[in-house]
Amino acid sequence: MTVFTGSDLTCRRGERMVFARLAFTAGPGDAIMLRGRNGAGKSSLLRVMAGLLAPLHGQIFWQGEDIADDMAAHRARLQYLGHQDAVKPVLTVWDNLRLWAELRGIRDVDSEIDRALDALGILHLANTTGRFLSSGQKRRTALARILIGPAQLWLLDEPTVGLDRESSAGLAGLIEKFRGDGGTVIYSTHIDLDITGPKLLDLDEFAIPMMEWLAGAPDDVVPEEGPQAIETPDKEGVSA
């Protein structure tokens, strides 16, 4: 069964084509690991999946429905972790998380936050101000955020940055648990995370030889239809 699919995705940032003709499929319990050089477009793809960035071309579906048609529903089902931690230096860890709990309409805010902090092993830091956190503790606070409220899809951009070995293993456990509950996880990382059988999606394969794109579409500076002139064969990506 597949619930989350994307087809023919092309992404342009600034004047730069990042990837083209990318496709993916994922079902409940699946994990996709994004790989690629710096600048290959891992973050861009995750942002496209989250709906932060509109792809130049192609669509993304959740259970057969284009996510662009009902962004609110898509947002309600996903949790996104970006490069940045979004931890306010003047608020305590607890206060930092409270906003996100309230925005998701959690009823029992207190116990939900405590549960999340406990899962990440930073319950003892609940009343510590953000400014005094080490980078790893900050990252864990950000990770605690994705545990708050129900979700079906996790989009994690290099979640292990700044984590020590132990916390990395803990994170892998959380991901496995989420998958066990039927969640879908898509994550990018440079180091290996101990996840059982993730699908691999290598962004480097979808890189566009700029050269040919530029040569192929001399007039189409603002291409409407995507770079039709590319000769790269249609990649299939991962499939369930």
């Binding site: 030889p209 050269m211 040919e212 530029l214 040569a215 001399p218």
Partner: protein, 65 residues
């Protein structure tokens, strides 16, 4: 004739408003045209470079796994 240009003593106001308008419009036209010309020249250079590079590049791309 010079009476005409004097415009009853208001010549300075009238002619300077016409002159300023003309200068501004010509200036904008010239800078726009020059910008277009420059972008064209630069684009042509890059475009020819692109054509000349193309075969060599795709070869080296094939060489990589």
């Amino acid at each position: 004739m010079s009476d005409y240009f004097m415009m009853e003593g208001y010549g300075l106001y009238i002619w300077s408003s016409y002159a300023i308008t003309a200068v501004a419009m010509v200036f904008l036209l010239v800078t726009s045209l020059r910008g277009l010309g420059q972008s064209r020249i630069e684009l042509d250079q890059l475009e020819t470079l692109l054509k000349s590079r193309r075969p060599r590049r795709s070869k080296s791309r094939d060489a990589r796994p």
